[in-house]
Symmetry: C2
Subunit: 296 residues, 2 copies
């Protein structure tokens, strides 16, 4: 016994009914339905029997819709339309043309990689809903493994266990200096030249690898950086540099800012570039994710 509805009515019968109601002639309707007249005649009779309702009045061997038939015709058409719609929705969702992509990204991705990737994706799949938010690398990897998000734009120093990933850009470290700084006129700056400076750095809490790597580079250059302040996000760090609290080492691309306040300079040291990666769970079979990865 059916749980939701308990009538043996089927979509095939509804379709037959609609065609007969439109033609008001069983023979012609049968032709349209690629059936024989007797078969269709019985189909309608069965539908009426199932409903317990006469849909047509057989007056003088002619079909006329009854009041109940009129009412049912409207509903039947609507049902068939919606059934068709439901099928197409399922198929488009299957193809990844409909659905939601839950994307998270580190803040430094917002300046270049994110708009580039989203621009391409949105042009190809305009009907996919984008669920976007910034999130640190650490929390992204957790969320990816738990299936709470589909894809992350993050800073992976190496392959992450349990996740697939692909590098989308190599970003160098740059020096951020207050505009009036003694080194501000130079094109390139050696890391060792910053030995006596005070530093404003990314806080360890959000992404320990960035913080630790920068400190490591400084040690390799022969000094321990004097960190006077940490900032949770790039905008804050740049503001602190502009305020003259110190210099900073940032991952490019950097936020646009007034060159009268802060300047960015390349490092002459040959440090390995920082990788920005797209990461996802190999268990996640979301069609939308597949489409996104095809375009990366």
């Amino acid at each position: 016994m059916r749980v939701v509805h308990d009538v043996a009515m089927e979509l095939r019968q509804l379709n037959s009914f609609v065609v007969v109601a439109e033609e008001l002639n069983v023979g012609r309707a049968a032709v349209r339905l690629h059936l024989t007249q007797p078969s269709l005649s019985r189909q309608i009779a069965a539908l009426e029997h199932d409903l317990g309702v006469e849909l047509f009045a057989r007056v003088k061997r002619r079909f006329v819709l009854t009041a109940a038939g009129e009412a049912f015709l409207v509903d039947a058409k609507e049902l068939l339309r919606r059934a068709d719609e439901a099928v197409r929705t399922a198929q488009r969702t299957h193809r990844g043309e409909l659905g939601t992509l839950r994307l998270r990204f580190v803040q430094s991705a917002t300046f270049e990689a994110l708009p580039r990737l989203l621009g391409t994706f949105r042009a190809a799949y305009p009907e996919v809903v984008l669920d976007l938010e910034t999130m640190t690398t650490l929390r992204q990897t957790d969320a990816l493994r738990d299936g709470r998000i589909d894809v992350g734009l993050l800073r992976l120093p190496a392959a992450e266990p349990g996740l697939s990933s692909r590098v989308v850009s190599h970003d160098p470290l740059v020096v951020a200096l207050p505009a009036g700084h003694r080194l501000a006129k130079r094109k390139r700056i050696g890391l060792a030249e910053l030995a006596e400076e005070t530093f404003v750095l990314y806080t360890r809490a959000t992404g320990p690898s960035v913080h630790d790597a920068i400190v490591g580079y400084c040690r390799a250059a022969g000094f321990v950086p004097r960190i006077v302040q940490e900032g949770a996000d790039v905008q804050t760090i740049v503001a602190l540099v502009a305020a003259g609290l110190g210099v900073s080492l940032l991952i490019a691309p950097t936020p646009p800012i007034d060159p009268e306040a802060v300047v960015y300079r390349k490092l002459s040291d040959n440090l390995p570039p920082w990788q920005l990666s797209v990461a996802w769970s190999p268990d996640n079979s979301s069609p939308v994710l597949e489409r996104f990865l095809q375009l990366v």
Copy 2:
């Protein structure tokens, strides 16, 4: 080939899909559907094949809805709900509990018969839409024969060919006099006493039978009424009587009015009462009409 939708999907499959999606276990779902597990398993496979979409991800012998499955589940539930609704609507329409009753009535019915009949009907069938309008007897009979209306409240002197009817009230003629009239103090008035009066009567255009009958009664009483004015509706006629243009003969019930302006008096003559009838077409098989006639 189907005209509206061309997928072999059926409601039975949708129902099975919904139950499986709810249980996420084919065996338990099969129990709920009174089927065996293999049968249900094949039904789902057939549905997926028809749609060309995997609705479930078979991961480790366990069922999980895919993104397309999630989307389809919502639509499938909605479709089943609406299918059920459509069936109930058709059945209720068949029983005359839903639908429209197109009722027309002569103006004199509005004072008593109409509110009485409508009150009873509306209490019994509150969901039937009432299509109400005043209409003269002549136009009602035409409209009934053409099927433009379902039922009429009208003045039939005799059985109307092609229509069924039933008398619902017998209404006497009454005299309407200006309040200051010489006969206004009398309880009853003989028709012959009005021989010298001037008359305001129903116009022949709207209902010739009423006009002609009144003139006939006057002739039988020995005089030809001097008609100084005709009025299309009762309200107008009463206003003209109040203005002192003449007296009038009206069919009861009469509109309530200020007794300082106009008074109604019974006739002492033994004139046959005027009949108010309900009329309908015997060809009209509207279930709502049937219900209405049951209550008359």
